[in-house]
Structure formats: structure tokens, C-alpha cells
């Protein structure tokens, strides 16, 4: 379980009911989005399965007996999708990827790391990027594989790198 400091809203019972008043709801959604991102960041996760959302303490505060309904989670995630902070993975919108940084930001972060470490024109595996000792202090260390690939594909579009397939793993070459 992730260790985070819960915001005051987490213990505020109505926080778990989507608010009818638009201004209040906007504040509520904003607080939820920050909380979701902080929580996933701390636990190094990038996906949320709405069907299982009520099993996580993030959406279920047992102490005050309040939980966020599945529809409410969907409302929040759809709002996050508007700003590129989340995207549904399946058509039924059950599984979502959450980007604590946008894909472009992730891409730039990785590219900067590559440049700073003289990795230009050399190949490294995605495993190295995610698990290697060299990236242990980087924010993208341990990043979800799917998100990592998507971020690199964005970079590829900008001709900053090229993804390549090996026998059993994937690699990337930075330019």
C-alpha cells in the first residue's frame, strides 16, 4: 500500500459524493485528480480498473464509511482525460491509464536523461530504462511498460528515437 499524506478532503465525507453544484464539483474533481496522481505515483502504478476501484483505500475510506461509486470514478477519470492526464485502455472504459505526467512530458524526461548520460546514438533496452541502476533516481524508473512505450512512440514521431524489437525484448535508440 502506498504511503501518502491524505489531503483533508479524504476525511471529508461529502468528498465521496459527486457534488451537484458546478463550482463545488470543479473543486472536488481537481482535488480528486491530485489525490489519484499522488497515490499512483507513490505506489508506482499507472492503471486503474474501475471494476476493482472500491477495493483500494484510495476510493474507499473505511474509517468514515465512505466510498466512491464506480460511476463517480468514471466521472473523475473522464474529466482527467480532457486534460490528457488519463486515457481509457479498453473500449468499455473499465481500465484506465493515468499519466502523472503527460506522454510528452515523459518522453522529454527520458530524452533529457539519455542526452545527459551520453546515450545518444546508442541502444538501450526498455528493461534498462525501467529497472536499470542508471535510472534509479529518475522519475520514470519503474514506470508502467505500456505508458513507457507510448511515451517513446511520441518521441519517435519527433525523430528523437527509434523503437526496435529484439528476440525477446524491446529496445530504443536515441538520436
Amino acid at each position: 500500500m502506498a504511503e501518502i499524506t491524505w489531503p483533508w478532503q479524504y476525511n471529508f465525507p461529502p468528498f465521496f459524493t459527486i457534488q451537484p453544484h458546478s463550482e463545488t464539483r470543479a473543486k472536488q474533481l481537481e482535488a480528486w485528480e491530485t489525490l489519484i496522481i499522488d497515490y499512483l505515483k507513490a505506489s508506482k502504478q499507472s492503471t486503474i480498473d474501475i471494476r476493482e476501484s472500491q477495493n483500494t483505500p484510495l476510493f474507499n475510506n473505511a474509517a468514515i464509511e465512505r466510498k466512491l461509486s464506480q460511476e463517480a470514478v468514471l466521472t473523475i477519470l473522464e474529466d482527467m482525460a480532457k486534460t490528457g492526464k488519463a486515457a481509457p485502455v479498453d473500449k468499455s472504459k473499465n481500465v484506465w491509464e493515468i499519466y502523472w505526467h503527460s506522454l510528452d512530458e515523459w518522453g522529454n524526461m527520458i530524452y533529457n536523461w539519455a542526452c545527459n548520460n551520453g546515450m545518444n546514438n546508442s541502444v538501450c533496452t526498455l528493461f534498462e530504462l525501467r529497472e536499470g541502476d542508471n535510472t534509479a533516481d529518475q522519475e520514470f524508473h519503474g514506470l508502467d511498460m505500456n505508458v513507457l512505450v507510448k511515451a517513446l512512440k511520441r518521441l519517435e514521431l519527433k525523430s528523437r528515437c527509434e523503437l526496435m524489437e529484439f528476440d525477446d525484448s524491446q529496445g530504443v535508440k536515441f538520436f
Binding site: 489531503p7 483533508w8 471529508f12 465525507p13 461529502p14 465521496f16 459524493t17 453544484h21 463550482e23
Partner: protein, 249 residues
């Protein structure tokens, strides 16, 4: 047979009236002169007093309150105008400065409390923002109330809602709370729960269903209350401004 009044008597009467009138205006004149003189003396003294105690007024809360009380007793409002001889007191400046700081605190916390804040929270935050010197810390509730009253000249943007003995809420969003809404806040305050429900209002205040629901709906619409539909019994209406964790956040 009764004698009718003669011309002589009428003229005599008129002459007397004339004399009375003359005497009257003479006395009035005298009194006016005396008053002017007194006022002048008073003004001089007050100016002396002010220049002598200017710092005291700014720094000492106790002194400030006594001064306010003294002014109230003689029916003058030292804050009514920045012009004229009251301005030399510098007491207005103190409250204007406080007013600006109050506005700042209210705006800074609006995002979480929807524009409703307890006077205690306002005071704590304001003192924290004013700096550590003792003179900056010595702000009483009376000072704040006086300063907020002055903010009324900007329209109904800042109002004080009394919610119980020695307890106030400060509302910093335009739109006046009606009596029912004030009663709702008082109820929530006296329960100490930060929430109320239609059931409580109908039960404790003997309101009918519609009256209770109207008041609550309106407060939701103003962004002052949050709806909580997960209570086992009924819908609860929460006020972040009274929720302890929100206040200290």
C-alpha cells in the same frame, strides 16, 4: 360679562414675544459659541492625545478597544472617514490595513471553504500572515469585526454572520444569507458536527420539510455546503468552513 382683548393688550403681547425671541436667539448664540469653543478644545486635546498615543493605538489591543468604546459612548465613529481631524489619529489606517489583510485571507481560502470562514480561522491565518512581532500578533476579534464592518462600503461582499455566543462566520461571497440560512449555520455550529440535515432542521427547529430543503438547497447552490448521500439515514449537508481538518489544512 367678559371683556374682549383690546388693541393695547395685543400689542403688549406681541412685544413680549419679540423680547422672548430676542433673548432666545441670544442664548442660542451663546451656547453655539460655547459649543464651538468646547469642540475646538476637544479637538486639540484629541489631536494631542492621538499624536502622543499613536503608536499605542496601533500596538495595544486593549487600548484600542477602550478607545473604540470611548468613541462609541460619545457617538463618534473614528473610522467613518479618512478625512478631517480623525485622520490624524491614524487609527483608521490600522483598520484599513487589517481590512486588506482580511480580504486577502478570505480570497486565499475561498477555494476550499466556498467563501465562508470562522472568525477564529480568519484570525489565526491573518496573524500567521502578519509576521512574528508582538505588535502584529495582538489582534482581537473586536478589531476584526470593526474592520469587516468597514468593508461593507464595497457592497455586500463581506458580511458577518453571528452563529452563537462569541462565534462568528465571515462570508466573503456576494449574496446575502437570509434568516433561514443563518439559522442553518447556527444549528450546525451549535451541534459542532460541521453538518446538518433536513431531519435535524425539521426536528430541532420545527421547520416543515419544504422550508428545510429550500434553505439547504440554497446553501449548496451558493457553494457553501457539500452534499453527502452516503449516510445510512438521510442526506447530510457539510460545511467545509466548520470542518476541523479543512480549517487546519
Amino acid at each position: 360679562m367678559r371683556r374682549r382683548a383690546g388693541v393695547g393688550a395685543i400689542q403688549k403681547q406681541r412685544l413680549e414675544q419679540e423680547k422672548y425671541r430676542e433673548k432666545g436667539s441670544e442664548i442660542q448664540e451663546n451656547q453655539f459659541q460655547q459649543m464651538s469653543k468646547q469642540l475646538e478644545v476637544f479637538r486639540d486635546n484629541l489631536e494631542d492625545f492621538a499624536t502622543k498615543h499613536k503608536n499605542e493605538i496601533k500596538k495595544n489591543a486593549q487600548f484600542r478597544r477602550q478607545f473604540q468604546e470611548m468613541c462609541a459612548a460619545i457617538g463618534v465613529d473614528p473610522l467613518a472617514s479618512g478625512k478631517g481631524f480623525w485622520s490624524v489619529l491614524g487609527i483608521g489606517d490600522f483598520y484599513y490595513e487589517l481590512g486588506v489583510q482580511i480580504v486577502e485571507v478570505c480570497l486565499a481560502t475561498n477555494y476550499k471553504n466556498g467563501g465562508l470562514i470562522t472568525l477564529e480561522e480568519l484570525r489565526t491565518r491573518l496573524i500567521a500572515a502578519r509576521g512574528k512581532a508582538k505588535t502584529h500578533q495582538d489582534i482581537t476579534n473586536e478589531d476584526l469585526l470593526a474592520a469587516i464592518k468597514k468593508l461593507k462600503i464595497f457592497g455586500n461582499g463581506f458580511t458577518i454572520v453571528p452563529v452563537g455566543k462569541g462565534k462568528w462566520l465571515v462570508q466573503s461571497v456576494p449574496g446575502e444569507l437570509n434568516l433561514d440560512q443563518t439559522l442553518v449555520l447556527q444549528k450546525a455550529n451549535s451541534l459542532g458536527t460541521a453538518w446538518v440535515s433536513a431531519g435535524i432542521l425539521t426536528g430541532d427547529l420545527r421547520w416543515n420539510e419544504t422550508r428545510a430543503q429550500n434553505a439547504l438547497d440554497h446553501m449548496v447552490k451558493e457553494g457553501l455546503a457539500w452534499v453527502d448521500s452516503q449516510d445510512s439515514k438521510e442526506t447530510l449537508y457539510w460545511f467545509p468552513s466548520m470542518f476541523a481538518e479543512c480549517v487546519s489544512a
